[in-house]
Structures are given as C-alpha cells and as structure tokens.
C-alpha cells in the first residue's frame, strides 16, 4: 500500500469514526450514570432519517442536525422513562428502541419521499482549517473534515475533563457506582439518570445525522448497519473513558475504511468476508477488555429505595 493510499485510508477512517464516536460518548455518559442503552442503533437510524428529512425541509444541514439531536433526545427520554422510571429491564427497553428506530425511519422515509427517494440532500461542507490542512500527510488526515468532526473530538476531551473533575461528573459517577450513596447525599438519582439517558440519546441522534448528512448524503434503510453496537463495544473497550472511546472509534473507523478498500483490492474474495472485519475486531477487543473491565457498579440496575 503506497503513501497516498494510506493517507486516504486514515482520512476516511477518521470520517467513518465520527458517527460511532458521538454515539459512544453519549453512551459513556449514560453508562457512567448506570443507564445501559443497547438501543443506540435505533436512535442513530432515527437521527439519520430526521437529519435528511429536516435538512431537505429547511435547506440546511444544521436544521437536520437539530432535528436529529431532538429526536435522539426524545428517544433517550423514552428509554429513561422505561428503564429508569418504570424500572423495565434495560436490555429489553433498548431492544424496543432498536426496532422502533428501524421501523420509524424506514417507514417515515418512504412516507416523506416516496419510492423514488430524495434527490439532493444539503450536506455539511468540509471545513479545511486554513494553513493546517495543507500540511502533507497530517493535513488531510486531521484537518480536512466537517465541522462536526472537530466538535466530536472536542466533546471527547471535554467529557474527559467533566467526568473526573467537575461536580456534575461527581454526581454522574456516584449515581452509576452507588445510587444509594447518591440518594443519601440528597441527589435525585432517577432525575440524573433521566438526564444522562437524554444526553446519550441526543448524542446518538447526532451520530446518525453525521452519517446521513456529513459522511454520506442521503438516507438508506438500515444504513447504520451495526454502528450502534460497535459504539457500545467502544464504550466497554475504552473502559468508560471518553478519550479512550475516541481512540476505539478511530480504530473501528479505520477498520471500516480498510475493509471497503480491501473489497476492491481483492475482488476474488467474497466481499462479506471484509464487511465483518470491524465486527471481528469488536469481538476481539471486547474479549480482551472484559477481563480487566471495571464497569460502573450499578450499571443496568434500576434504583429502588428499600
């Protein structure tokens, strides 16, 4: 593989990583607060669809982004309502979200755009950072992306500060580690968890919007194609650390970009063998991480006073 190809691979790897990164950051916060949302896939699909719908309607990708974030927030709240308030099993509530997102986005897309689909979708423009994007090799990889990509990286470092070093982070961690201790300290456990679930949902919605209006331009049924699950794998692999999630998302993004290139490099090998590459990586990463993982002690457990 020559240099140009490698730069292209890494640059598109960064792009491919972003939807996963947004979803993974939201899930990191939710899980640190004890809320497990396995329904990221469904929320990302809803976000991808809403982003296209509203970008077309408003003529701006920002309108699409806002709609995707709002829709994701609503689905996160729905998850919170089921898992936090009603104490439904969190896995089952999450699976309900996957099916809901899959159905609503596919159906809504046909309803809105008919069988012919949508024509031109207003997408995010690339934001080349002046000066920096002209640096050879590093420029195209790091400084030739959509604005959203820089926002995602900033969010990862921001959260890496908030969680250990702010009062908000302290509250979130307490709720996820020992809700009883948080309750005893006068914190409304369920409210914090609802907020965390809503944040997680909104971030997954943004991840979906990135996919349909920045990475690609348009909606295809089931276009998230497992990225929601990969995002959950990233959270665990990164041991609930936001910067770790960034690294993990980049790893999966690059793997995804590589498998597409490998498909065309080796037409003799069935393409399905390459498609599974990121998932194999996820499985291996989880198997390796699971051994030493310290998950939030109250993850997935609804809090009830006794």
């Amino acid at each position: 593989m020559d240099g140009v190809l490698l730069v292209g691979l890494l640059a598109s790897g960064v792009r491919f990583a972003m939807p996963i990164l947004f979803a993974a950051l939201g899930e990191t916060v939710a899980q640190r607060a004890g809320v497990l949302n396995v329904g990221l896939e469904g929320i990302m699909l809803a976000g991808a669809f809403l982003a296209v719908l509203c970008a077309v309607a408003t003529g701006s990708p920002w309108g699409g982004l806002a709609a995707a974030a709002a829709g994701g927030l609503a689905m996160g709240l729905l998850h919170g309502l089921m898992a936090v308030r009603m104490k439904v099993d969190q896995i089952i509530a999450g699976i309900a979200l996957i099916l809901l997102g899959l159905g609503l986005s596919g159906f809504g897309y046909r309803l809105a755009f008919g069988a012919g689909g949508v024509g031109q979708v207003p997408g995010f423009a690339r934001l080349d950072i002046p000066g920096l994007s002209d640096i050879p090799v590093l420029g195209p990889i790091l400084f030739g992306h959509h604005l959203l990509a820089y926002a995602g990286v900033t969010a990862a470092f921001g959260l890496a500060w908030v969680l250990p070093r702010s009062g908000l982070g302290l509250t979130l961690r307490a709720v996820g580690e020992n809700p009883k201790a948080a309750d005893a300290a006068g914190i409304d456990v369920d409210r914090v968890r609802m907020a965390a679930a809503a944040f997680g949902g909104a971030m997954a919605g943004i991840g979906g919007a990135y996919l349909s209006t920045a990475q690609l331009a348009g909606f295809v049924e089931n276009m998230v194609a497992g990225r929601g699950f990969i995002a959950i794998a990233c959270v665990v692999f990164a041991r609930w650390n936001p910067v770790g999630a960034l690294v993990a998302a980049l790893l999966f993004g690059i793997a995804d970009a590589a498998q597409i290139r490998l498909q065309s490099l080796y037409p003799g090998i069935p393409y399905q063998a390459f498609i599974i590459l990121p998932f194999v990586l996820a499985l291996a990463a989880l198997a390796a991480a699971a051994r030493s993982a310290h998950l939030p002690a109250a993850l997935g457990r609804p809090y009830r006073r006794d």
Partner: protein
C-alpha cells in the same frame, strides 16, 4: 425536658401486610444521647430511614425543633441539621474521601481539590477524627469507612446525629474513639440517637433507652433506671420479666458495666472460653457434622465469630443461641455449603470445607437439609407453584424424574402428600406459594426439607414470625426427626424454644462462642448472660 431537637409523633410505616413501625412516639433533647435498641427486624432501620428522609411514613409526623418537618429527602433532612451514619455505609469505593464529602454539596462546575481537602481537614479537626482527604474510600478498613461516614454527617451544622449500629464492626479501640467523639458532641449540645443491639453501648454512653419490639415501642426510660436483664427481656419478648432473661442481674455485677468506659467490655473477637464445669458430655449418636477452630467473617470483612468448635451428633438438637447478628447467619451459610469458613474446617462425612466440592448440592446429596432464616428471600420462589417449590432442593435426586426430565405426575403426587402431611392450607399443588400465609410457607419449606428424612438439619429461626399453633407444629417436627436419629442445629434467639427443644446449647455473642452446655447443667440466667455478651 427542653424543647426536643427531634420528636416523632404517631409514626407508622407499613410494607405490604407487615407493619414495620407502629405509632411510634419518641423524642430526643439537645445534649441527650438516646439509645434505640431492638432485635433485627424490630423496626429500627425503618425508624432510621424515616428520620434520614429516605422513607416516608404512612402516618404520623416528625417535628424538628418543634416545627413539623417534611423529611422528603436526605437533602431535606440535612438542611434541618440531621446527620445520619448508616449501618451499611453508602459509599462509592472509587471516590476519594474529599470527593465523598463533596458529593451532593457542590455545584456542577469545577471541583477544587485543594479547597475540598481543606474542608475535610477542617471538619475532621473539629470532630477529632483522623482521615486522609486524598485516600480512596475503597482502600480504607471498616473503621476508616465509618470515619468517612461520620465526616459526611458532620460536614454541615448538625443538631442531631443518628448513628445506626456503629460499633458492630469496630475494634474496641475504634469504638472507644467513637464514643469519645459522641461525648464531645453531647457536650456541645448536639442530640445523638444511637441505634444498636449491643447493651454495653447503651450502658456505656447513653442517657435514655427506647426499646422496639416488633415495630412497637415497649419501653422508654432513663438508662440509670433499667438493667441489662430488663433490656434483654424487652428486646426478645417485648416485656420485662421474660423467663429467658431472668436472673441476669445477679450475674451482671455493677462493675461489669462501668459507665463512661465503654471499651471496658471489648466487643472484639476472643477465642471460645468454655467453663469446664459446664462442658456437656457429647450425646450418644454418631458425629454427623463437626467444626474445628472455625472463624467466620461478615461480608464486610469484620470477624463475626472466631474459634468455634463443636460436633453435631445424630439424635440431638444443638441450639445456637444469641441475639441476631452475632454470626448465626454466617455459621449457617458455611455449614450449608454456601460459603467456606475463613479459618478452621467443617466436616460432614467424607466432605470437608477445604475441598473444591464444598457446595450445597454435594452436602444435600450427603443428607443435609437447610431451613433458611429468611424464608421469603431464601426459602421459596413466591411466583412458582407448591409443586415446583417442593422440587427446588430435590429435583436432582434420581427419583425425581427420568433422565433429564422431571416426572411431573410424581412431583404433583408428592406435593399432594406434603399438603396432607404438613397441613398446608392451600387451594392445591398449582397455587403460587406467594399467595400462602407466612406460616403455610414455612410448613412448605419444612415439608421440602424434611420429607426425605435428612441426616443433618440446619434450622435457622424456624418458628420466627409464626403463630402459636404453627410454632408447636414446627417444634414437633424437629423433635420427631431428632428422635428418628437426625442431627439438628437449631439457631434461635428464643430461650423458651431452646429450653423446650435443645439437648445442648452454644451461644454466639460479640464474636465469642461459648458452650456447648446441656440445658440441665446450666441455667437460663447463664445462657441469657452469655447472649448479652457478658
């Protein structure tokens, strides 16, 4: 009495059919140390939770400083100057001490580590508690974690400090340090409520004592006007002069209970001391189960009991007497194969606790039966039928089915037979067990555990919470199996039951084991005294 800091008026709390606390009136004045005592399950924790703002009462009011208080949350309680040190510490192990104290008391913004540490040092200086603000909570021992809890409680101005079972896990030195702090707070006018079941705490530092029995306050009087005998009796039976606690006063001379020197009676573990004159001759039956030098730790790592040794013989009922929480549950768990002793060895036939295969299944195969103390949690599956519950610990017997399949017809036949033999009041074998009354649930547990004629029976509080008729039935069953040749370990806090059933008695108290003795060679006074920890 001066204006009480806190007054409870007609406080009632129900959980389903169970009334945990029934119309409780209780007040505590500034500078007063009130002991709230009672057995496990007497309702103490419910009272604590209501004062702490973590449980809402169903009826009655709490007055703080004479004004009706809405203690809807821990924050509300704290705002009124109520500090609570919970028995089961509510701590986040991965937090530092400074973070723990900051939790719920700081804004959402940046945490200033230096300011937080300074605040911790300030509180700990005022309270006379030594603790490193940077230490990780999970790395501290139980006494250290308790200091963090106290620090949390004192981190704002407190008018009332509530200590829930603070000495259960402490060494004598740590307990003395704790009581020195209580004395300082008392002197500064803070009211203290000490929830405990340890009498030495009561006589060591408290001014007044209130006794809860089955959710009802059965006594409320100055410590100077009561005696350990009366308190033991009130805790066990709800009235003074219960035979089980009789004569304690003679055994407990006043110098055993020196006021203001709580550490004079160390609560820490000590090896078994068996008075030679009281050592009972072992009964004639073969040894079915034996313990040698057994030490058991609680889940939090503190020593529940040390140096315990006895042999359980066929054809005897060996009673383990003691107020709950002194290692009984740890002992039964270890003997049932649910855990291993932390030191020493337990043997049953060819099995011993050092082996890989020390588990309930293997022990049950070898003829062990276990009637657990908490039948609702550990004895039954409330949503499943009588038939299924009867199979629960027995489905793996070859007779239970054919190959991998369970013989349902046979199982239902057994259920019908058990319903008849144990007089279980039910609509039939298919009824969910959760619908039965507590007494009938216990009969079902008994039927399951006894119907295969086990060689060893572990019976933990088998008649607790039952009506008189069912108690008699349970006791008759135990006698019948003893006479058949079974070896029975009976855990009970009821001296009446022990005297009626037991051939030998061991007491567990404050980490100490005493006995075994035969009831004929001792007196209820002596056993009662041992139970009280003297």
């Amino acid at each position: 009495m001066a204006q009480p800091v806190l007054a409870m008026d007609g406080l009632t709390k129900r959980y389903g059919e169970v009334t945990a606390v029934r119309s409780l009136d209780l007040a505590v004045a500034p500078g007063e140390v009130l002991a709230l005592i009672g057995e496990n399950g007497a309702g103490k924790s419910t009272v604590v939770n209501m004062i702490a703002g973590m449980t809402a009462p169903d009826a009655g009011v709490i007055l703080v400083g004479g004004a009706r208080a809405a203690l809807s949350s821990a924050r509300a309680a704290r705002a009124l100057g109520i500090g609570v040190v919970h028995q089961h510490y509510a701590l986040v192990p991965s937090f530092t001490v400074a973070e723990t104290v900051a939790l719920g008391r700081v804004g959402a913004g940046r945490l200033d580590p230096a300011a937080l540490a300074a605040r911790v040092r300030d509180i700990s200086d005022r309270a006379g508690i030594v603790v490193d603000p940077a230490a990780q909570v999970g790395s501290l021992d139980v006494a250290g974690q308790q200091r963090v809890e106290i620090l949390k409680a004192l981190s704002q101005d407190v008018r009332l400090l509530l200590l829930d079972e603070p000495t259960t896990v402490l060494t004598p030195e740590d307990a003395a340090r704790l009581f020195a702090m209580v004395a300082r707070l008392k002197a500064s006018g803070v009211a203290v409520i000490l929830v405990t079941h340890r009498l030495d705490n009561v006589f060591g530092v408290c001014d007044r004592v209130a006794v809860l029995h089955a959710g009802v306050k059965v006594a409320d009087l100055p410590v100077a006007r009561t005696s350990p005998r009366d308190l033991v009796s009130l805790m066990i039976s709800g009235r003074t002069g219960d035979s089980g606690a009789d004569g304690l006063a003679q055994r407990l001379s006043s110098e055993d209970l020196t006021l203001h020197q709580p550490a004079a009676d160390p609560p820490g573990p000590a090896p078994a001391r068996v008075p030679a004159r009281a050592a009972a001759a072992p009964p004639p039956g073969p040894v079915r189960m034996g313990l040698e030098g057994v030490a058991l730790h609680r889940a939090n790592g503190s020593v529940a009991v040390a140096g315990l040794g006895f042999a359980l013989h066929g054809g005897e009922i060996l009673a383990v007497a003691g107020v709950d929480g002194n290692g009984q549950s740890e002992l039964v768990d270890a003997m049932a194969g649910l855990s291993r002793p932390d030191r020493g060895i337990i043997r049953m036939g060819a099995l011993d606790s050092g082996q890989e295969g020390w588990n309930p299944r293997a022990l049950r195969r070898a003829g062990l039966a276990h009637i657990p103390a908490d039948r609702r949690r550990n004895g039954i599956l409330p949503g499943r039928s009588l038939t299924e519950n009867l199979l629960l610990s027995r489905f793996f017997r070859p007779a239970a089915g054919r190959g991998w399949l369970i013989d349902r017809t046979r199982a239902e036949g057994e259920a019908r037979a058990a319903i008849g033999a144990f007089d279980i009041r039910t609509t039939g074998p298919a009824q969910p067990v959760g619908r039965l009354s507590g007494g009938n649930q216990q009969k079902l547990v008994l039927a399951r555990e006894l119907m295969d004629d086990p060689a060893v029976i572990l019976a933990a509080h088998p008649s607790r919470g039952l009506d008189v008729r069912t108690i008699a039935f349970v006791q008759d069953q135990l006698r019948r199996h003893r006479d058949r040749g079974a070896a029975i370990l009976l855990v009970s806090a009821d001296l009446g039951e022990i005297w009626g059933l037991a051939d030998r008695v061991v007491t567990l108290s404050s980490g100490r084991a005493r006995g075994p003795v035969a009831p004929g060679d001792t007196s209820r006074e002596e056993i009662g005294g041992w139970m009280a920890g003297h």
